[in-house]
Amino acid sequence: MSSRFSLKDLEKLNSRYSIFTSLTSEKEVDAEFVFSAKDNLASKDFETRAGSKILEGYAPGFDATPIKKMRKAGGFLAGKTNMDEFGFGTFSTNSAYGIPKNPFDLNRSCGGSSGGAACIAAIIEDHVALGVSTGGSIVCPASFCGVFGISPTYGRVSRYGLVDYGNSLDKVGILSAKAANLTKYLPIIAGKDPKDPTSCVQPEMRKNLRKIKSVAIPKEAIEGISKGVMESFRSALDVLKSMSIDVEYVNMPSLKYAIPAYYVIATSEASTNLARYCGMRYGQQDGDLALKFDDYFSSIRSKYFGDEAKRRILLGTFTRMVGYADRYYNKALQVREIIIVEYKNIFKTHDAIVTPTMPFVSPRFDEISKMSALQSYKADFLTVPPNISGTPHLSVPCGYSDGMPVGMQFIADHWNEDLLLSAATEWEKAFDIRHPEVKL
């Protein structure tokens, strides 16, 4: 099977939607399939800038392992997709390279931080987009753009070649309009890679996908959800029941601590990861060399990091300082353990957990600009728990409110991606998915 692919279409789409930070210069391509990769995955043939000005000009001499595996499987890498700088955001509005626009409504966000990936997945039906999630950056944009998105178990897919945000949280996954693409390509990018020791402890993925028979809904997860989303979610639960899946409400008291714990761990790690960007060796290097090294570093960092990156560096540096680490960083690690224990308890009696993916449909850009940092952090309260615990999770389109897609999130126990893949396949059969109208 091959798909003819025209660059002209992509260029046009890109100028309208700001999907890519780099796009192929090939005119036409013959390949088994076409895929894209989020701009924080290193690639030989495109710059890798992770949505940041500071990495302008960075051309790694190597492919990230997931990209390498996709190419080996016959894939053609069409380009690098737009994202919040280093993954810092929920709406992809923190990119230095334009803001991706939602294909259902140009005035609305694609979600983040894998906004470009969700956008192209929604527009081109058979496209496979590699995304990356740290706190929900795959399922959030999948939900806002009405596509499937899977973030596997932490350690399932090698992170070699990923520009780090939070190393204990980052996961490479897939977004696509077709459930079959998740089932087909997740096993291709998964697997042990000696270049990422955290990938080497995984059991093999199950080839025979088991079906979900029972799901749990934490009561804490359906508080503070918008009316439109809640309506879609409730009717989605009816569909699940019609698929003879047991639905039961449970308690998960630790859920409300996930957001503060996540932002402490993620920013602590991020602030160390971002320490290397200083205008030496790669990226922007146009500072005044007469300065002392630390002043030179500060000048480059002040000039080229975006506001959200600076905010997270400050937060993360603070939370790991002597005298504060026990109150913040170390306590957050304990909270993470408690959340994992509560998940494990639920998975003793249920195959999966379902919740809405996001508490609201994609907001308009004018609404986003009025949000405080804290308000936008809080929007992640449903996607952060499975991310902080490293459990695999999936978003499927489950309804429409004001013409915008609503997402439902499935969470399974560690290494049980097969349950999620079968859920996506079954859901696709049971639910009438709408596609955005895109005119070239």
């Binding site: 995955l41 290193a42 890798t48 992770a50 990495l55 960075y58 790694p60 001499g61 190597f62 990230a64 992170r159 070699y160 070649g161 990923l162 520009v163 780090d164 939070g166 190393n167 204990s168 000696p194 270049k195 990422d196 020791p197 955290t198 402890v201 602590s268 790690e269 602030s271 160390t272 320490a275 290397r276 960007y277 200083c278 030496m280 060796r281 790669y282 060399l289 090294f293 630390d294 570093f297 540096t317 790991r320 300082m321 002597v322 680490a325 960083y329």
Partner: protein
């Protein structure tokens, strides 16, 4: 006076700690580098298990408590030779804690032993700018931290020297000059301590500590107080200087290194078999071969290969024969011999064996050994050495009392050596004179 040391030793692995770049033999700066040891975005570390094993061997040698599990941490600070601006090191779970090391009979407590990566090397050039060589970036280091149990600069040096001898032997650390020891030296004369960072080599450690001891004493005598601070040692001027405050007052903000995971080290450590340590060997030599402490230590600190050779010679002859030749001729030409020891040891032993069964005289044996060890022409050696032997023998005949003195203190030999040197001008090398004197005295004893 209280002195504590933080000793950094590069571990002799073939590849770096977290990537496959070689650790030695670079022809030019920045040739043994890759995305990982340059900290390029997207790269990540993967632990070289050999580094972990070598570190554990040292922790075990120092009788440390080894925890069930260990992990690595990020120590964040900004410096151009530290690519990622965090060093992968160990913070809350060092591979070893609460060890002990006996300097003679004196216990020196070991606080901790941990692993970390070396940063690159900064070279300042004249115009206020610097060049950085990242070949060193990512080479595995073991850091050994002692309690402040050392009580003089000389003792600190002695400790380092013996510790390094043991480490060299225990983990096969070559003395190739590429891997020098670096120390952070903590010293207090009164109640407050100063830390002198990054002092290279044994000599400099003693010098910097001596300078600091005098400086601190002077400050206290003048009625002032010592300020707790970090200092640098200026090797050229042999003085310590306060470091830029900004450089070391950093809060390193340690967090765990998530990329490497957790290592179960107790079982690895259990399977490590330690070789007999050089100092234990010295003790055994004293007991088994009735060597005095000084000779035993001298053999072992010269080279463990010499110690092994000593035992081989004992096997084919007797203790006295082995001692005579090892401390005499063999010691004198050891430097030239050591690099070729592997191929020549068999021949060396057969020469001594011939001597032992009286097939050759001691003079002939001496000439043959020297020829073998130095690769020189035996004829040439014959001529010079027989002349030299005559001279020394006549001196000994005239000064019989030297032999009695020598029994009490082997420094008595210096009188002969000095006199012969004077008589002959520059004709014989001092190594030749020393070897011949010791051999001829030993024969008469």
């Amino acid at each position: 006076m209280r002195i504590g040391l933080e000793v950094h030793v590069q571990l002799p692995t073939k590849s770096k700690m977290f990537c496959s770049c070689p650790t030695t033999g670079a022809d030019a700066p920045n040739t043994h580098i890759c995305p990982t040891c340059l900290g390029m975005p997207g790269s990540r570390p993967s632990l070289n298990k050999k580094a972990l094993e070598l570190g554990l061997t040292i922790a075990k040698m120092l009788k440390c408590t080894i925890p069930e599990t260990t992990w690595f941490s990020r120590k964040t600070y900004f410096y151009p030779d530290l690519c990622k601006h965090f060093q992968i090191t160990q913070y809350d779970t060092p591979i070893g804690e609460k060890g002990i090391y006996y300097l003679g009979k004196k216990p020196i407590r070991i606080t901790r032993v941990h692993l970390e990566e070396d940063p690159g090397k900064t070279k300042r050039i004249g115009d206020g700018s610097s060049l950085i060589d990242y070949n060193r970036s990512g080479i595995p280091l073991v850091e050994i931290v002692t309690e402040p149990d050392l009580s003089s600069p000389a003792e600190a040096r002695q400790f380092l020297s013996e510790l390094l001898t043991e480490i060299r032997y225990t983990i096969d650390l070559p003395e190739d000059g590429e891997r020098s020891v670096r120390c952070d030296c903590n010293i207090s004369v009164g109640t407050e301590r100063c830390e002198v960072k990054n002092v290279t080599g044994l000599k400099n450690v003693e010098r910097c500590l001596t300078f600091e001891a005098i400086r601190q004493t002077k400050v206290l005598k003048a009625g002032k107080t010592i300020e707790r601070e970090t200092r640098h040692f200026d090797e050229e001027r042999k003085v310590t200087m306060p470091a830029r405050k900004k450089e070391f007052e950093a809060d390193y903000g340690y967090i765990g290194e998530p990329d490497l995971g957790i290592f179960h080290i107790a079982s690895i450590a259990e399977n490590i078999k330690l070789r007999e340590s050089p100092l234990n060997m010295a003790v055994r030599f004293q007991k088994d071969y009735e060597l005095d402490e000084k000779t035993a230590k001298q053999i072992i600190t010269t080279s463990m290969k010499m110690a092994e050779l000593f035992e081989k010679i004992v096997k084919i002859s007797d203790t006295q024969t082995a001692k005579t030749w090892i401390t005499g001729t063999i010691s004198a030409y050891w430097k030239e011999f050591e690099p070729t020891a592997e191929e020549k040891t068999k021949d060396l032993i057969s020469i001594i064996s011939e001597f032992y069964v009286k097939k050759i005289t001691d003079t002939e044996c001496n000439i043959k050994l020297k020829a073998l060890m130095t690769g020189k022409d035996p004829a040439e050696i014959t001529e010079t050495s027989s002349d030299l032997d005559k001279l020394i023998n006549s001196f000994l005949d005239e000064n019989q009392s030297i032999l009695a003195d020598y029994r009490k203190n082997d420094k008595a030999a210096n009188r002969i050596i000095g006199s012969v040197m004077k008589q002959t001008g520059g004709k014989y090398s001092s190594a030749d004179i020393v070897a011949a004197t010791k051999r001829l005295i030993d024969i008469r004893l």
